[in-house]
């Protein structure tokens, strides 16, 4: 039955990892704005578009 203790320890470690990831996400502000990133991801990066106006 000793193996159970090892398994419990391992499972707790994994769970703690997820908890840490969650806390980091909150701290880094990912829960502050739940809308804008969903729009931002659709923008093309560094794409320069020239209008048809000519100088």
């Amino acid at each position: 039955m000793q193996i159970v203790i090892v398994l419990i320890g391992a499972s707790l470690l994994v769970a703690l990892g997820f908890l840490a990831a969650y806390l980091w996400a909150v701290k880094s502000g990912q829960y502050d704005d739940k809308y804008t990133p969903s729009v931002r991801i659709l923008f093309d990066e560094n794409k320069k578009a020239k209008g048809t106006a000519k100088k």
Binding site: T36, F43, A53
Partner: protein
């Protein structure tokens, strides 16, 4: 939710401005294939095009804000060091962080252009948008650019920031929000693991031969429960303690008692009695309670309920020094300074008129809709708005001591929150007093019955306290009210807090402001009474009022249906009197009776504009308020159940018109100053009335604050509205009755769910009283009662909302 509210402009593509989507008068302003409504819009396009930022136009169609009515502002005041320190978030002399409010933000294109600002100004290191809060966070290099330049840039592309000096307190609510997320995360983590480690208990697996294992599980459970008890549940202990110190037994008192007993009993169980405790129930309970809290804390981030007079004031004024004009922050304005006030600008301090024709609109302060004429040397009070040409004034009082600001010294503004001071205690707090008392009596009774056996007595007493912990009770209120708040939000009534829903149910008197509240802003009913006018005569009238900025002129201009506009040969406007215009051989005079110089009819208080052509009196335009749609229906519905009253800053001119809506039983008060309004509400409250006040402007702010619930009505919810408990979109004005009725329904649902949770408590108590509450029963009973309370309230709120047509 907000994302669906993104402006979808339905645009006629033929004449729509490429930049803003407004209809173009003609196709004269053109750049290649693109047509613009005004030169302002074209300038923005050119600027963006030059910097290769035309993606702006491909993400959303016609994303810009119209530049037709835009006047260039002078941002010199942003070079003022003290003012700058108040606006920026952080600076280390090299880099500076600043946050702007940008109300015009409305679509994906806006996000894109604002996050690409570094292409327009290479001093900007980064710019980031929070769309729901309509905020823009900018980091810039002090050496390369300046605050003034950035604000100027934003203004020039149509995103003029709202400069406000008192936004700093928002930081606090943000960190509160974060700490709730932390608490939920930790409670959830511990709850899951404790349950896992309690599984042998649930399944009655005999692990007696592994004594060691059992001990390890128990110790792990205790370790996992520590952060839940000491961190996640701390709010409940703090709130209970605060309540007790004020001698109030709020709902958190029995909760905190239950949590404390759960924890201590579990520790004793594990340490001395070889039991396994109730730590899973403890963690689960707190996890659910915090979820309920998160649900209740729904806030409308873009709306601001706390605005005071300062947010109405400009943050800078134009001063005249020597021969130079410059702008300085309003706080640096001293007595004796000469300032220039242009069309539609607010007077920041009590002053004397020096130069120009004063035509002051005091509707902000008094509610009186018609501007007052002022002559040189006359006193002008702060809060008035100049209509017409620029004037020069000299300040005689400091901003903080002006007439307008005195209102804010009233004690109504000192009270903090609805729940504590409005005199309406929430239902759950009323119940919890009796509840706590009952639980303690029961616990003592259980202790006495089993007094022969100490262990059994301890078990029974603690079990009673644990089972009676009002978790279902504590959950049903936030879920019911939170749901109600969301349903109101969908129907465009935005309440500041869930307390307001409960308070709304106990209202018995409703007070309305007149101007802007029951009348439509900027709309008027115009009627011409007199001789039949020819088309040509109407054309003269329309042509002559066109050049005037007076609101009555505007009303007449909009009223007269005439396409062709003539240019007058001679034109003069005498402020406060009227207009004289000459078209060929015809002289037209339009204005006050005295100005038109005729004895036509009796003086009446309603607003009349007289007309004469070539000294022949033709009649007058009668201009009356336009009332909101559905007003009479709403009033006749409300009249049956509530006391109604009407307060107005205007004169009695509209009295007879109002009688049609309000009948003869309700109170009318005219010529009410902001102070009068406040004391009227106060008087009602002294007579034991619970007052709901509807207002719209700064002049109602005192009364809104004083009343049990103050709701402000707004045509555009992003606009300024005075400090209040909620903002009602004017489109939902005729549904007020439904809202009040629904708040009553919510209250009934809370009562019903309380009864439900009492049933659970009785079942639990029967176990507890006999001293046979096993961890398994507790672990089942607690989540079942909590979840059923949540399901019951959520379903019943939604079903009854559907029945009432609110969903």
């Amino acid at each position: 939710m907000e994302q669906t509210e993104l402006l979808e402009k339905t645009v006629n593509t033929k004449t729509a401005c490429y930049h803003c989507g407004d209809e173009c008068p003609d196709e004269s302003i053109k750049l290649n294939e693109k047509i613009f409504c005004c030169n302002g819009c074209k300038t923005v396009f050119e600027l963006l095009d030059e910097n290769n930022l035309c993606n702006y136009y491909s993400i959303d169609k016609n994303p810009g804000a119209t530049r037709k009515y835009h006047t260039k502002r002078n941002y010199d005041f942003l070079d003022d060091h003290d003012l700058k320190l108040k606006l920026i978030d952080f600076s280390n002399d090299i880099k500076t962080n600043v946050t702007f409010d940008i109300p015009q933000m409305h679509c994906s294109s806006c996000i894109w252009i604002l996050e690409n600002l570094y292409n327009l100004d290479n001093g900007i290191i980064s710019s980031k948008v929070n769309f729901l809060q309509k905020k823009l966070f900018i980091t810039y290099l002090e050496k390369t650019t300046s605050l003034k330049k950035i604000v100027g840039l934003l203004d020039s592309i149509g995103y003029e920031p709202l400069l406000n000096l008192e936004d700093k307190k928002e930081e606090k609510t943000k960190s509160e929000y974060k700490s709730l997320y932390y608490k939920i995360g930790i409670a959830g983590f511990c709850f899951g693991n404790i349950m896992l480690l309690s599984f042998p208990e649930y399944l009655s697996i005999n692990i007696a031969q592994h004594e060691e294992l059992k001990k390890i599980f128990a110790v792990l459970n205790i370790i996992l429960s520590l952060p839940v008890f000491f961190y996640s549940s701390s709010d409940y202990f703090i709130s209970a303690w605060k309540g007790l110190r004020k001698r109030i037994v709020n709902i958190d008192v029995p909760l905190a008692l239950g949590i404390l007993v759960l924890f201590l009993r579990s520790l004793i169980d594990i340490a001395f009695l070889n039991g396994s405790g109730f730590l899973d129930s403890l963690a689960g309970l707190i996890f659910f309670l915090l979820i309920g809290k998160l649900f209740q804390n729904k806030t409308y981030e873009t709306l601001n309920f706390e605005r005071n007079y300062k947010s109405y004031f400009p943050i800078a004024v134009t001063v005249h020094k020597g021969n130079r004009e410059t702008t300085i922050p309003v706080e640096k304005l001293v007595v004796g300074e000469r300032i220039i006030v242009r069309n539609n600008e607010l007077i920041p301090a009590d002053s004397i008129l020096i130069k120009g024709n004063g035509n002051i609109d005091y509707s902000f302060v008094t509610g009186e809709a018609v501007p007052v004429e002022k002559k040189n040397g006359e006193m002008i009070y702060a809060g008035g708005k100049q209509v017409g040409g620029a004037i020069e004034i000299e300040t005689i009082k400091e901003v903080s001591q002006s007439y307008l600001t005195q209102l804010w010294n009233s004690k109504a503004f000192k009270k903090s929150s609805v729940s504590e001071e409005s005199g309406i205690t929430s239902f759950s707090n009323t119940i919890s007093k009796y509840f706590t008392f009952g639980v303690i009596v029961l616990a003592i009774a259980a202790g006495i019955i089993w007094s022969s056996n100490i262990t059994l007595a301890f078990n029974a007493v603690t079990a009673v306290l644990i089972v009676a912990c009002p978790c279902a009770l504590a959950l049903s209120t936030p879920f019911t009210l939170g749901n109600t708040l969301r349903i109101f939000g969908k129907n465009k009534l935005y309440l500041k807090h869930t307390h307001v829903v409960e308070a709304l149910a106990s209202i018995d008197t409703i007070v309305f402001d007149k101007t802007g509240t029951i009348t439509e802003n900027g709309a008027a009913n115009v009627k011409f009474i007199g001789k039949d006018l020819s088309q040509e005569e109407f054309r003269f009238i329309k042509s002559s009022v066109r050049n005037s900025t007076h609101p009555l002129s505007l009303a007449i201009f909009n009223f007269v249906q005439e396409e062709k506009i003539l240019s007058s040969d001679k034109y003069s406007e005498q402020p406060g009197k009227g207009i004289e215009a000459k078209f060929g051989g015809t002289i037209l005079r339009i204005g006050s009776k005295h100005f038109v110089d005729e004895q036509i009819a009796d003086e009446n208080l309603s607003t009349k504009v007289y007309v004469s052509i070539n000294n022949e009196a033709l009649g007058y335009f009668e201009i009356t308020n336009k009332y909101r749609e559905g007003l009479s229906e709403l009033i006749s519905n409300l009249e049956k159940d509530y006391g109604l009253a009407l307060l107005s800053g205007d004169n009695e001119g509209e009295k007879e018109n109002l009688r049609k809506f309000f009948g003869y039983d309700n109170e009318f008060h005219f010529r009410q100053s902001p102070h009068d309004k406040l004391s009227f509400v106060e008087e009602l409250q002294k007579n034991g009335k619970k007052v709901l006040m509807f207002g719209d402007g700064l002049n109602d702010a005192g009364a809104l604050k004083q009343s049990n619930i103050g709701l402000s009505i707004s045509d555009d919810t992003n606009n300024f509205s005075p400090a209040c408990d909620g903002i009602l979109d004017s489109k939902s004005f005729n549904r007020i009755k439904d809202f009040i009725a629904f708040s009553k329904t919510s209250k009934k649902i809370i009562v019903a769910s309380f009864i439900l949770s009492f049933v659970y408590n009785v079942i639990g108590l029967s176990f507890a009283f006999s001293g046979t509450l096993s961890p398994l029963i507790a672990a089942v009973l607690m989540p079942v009662s909590s979840i059923s309370a949540v399901v019951f309230t959520t379903l019943s709120v939604n079903i009854s909302a559907k029945k009432k047509g609110l969903l």
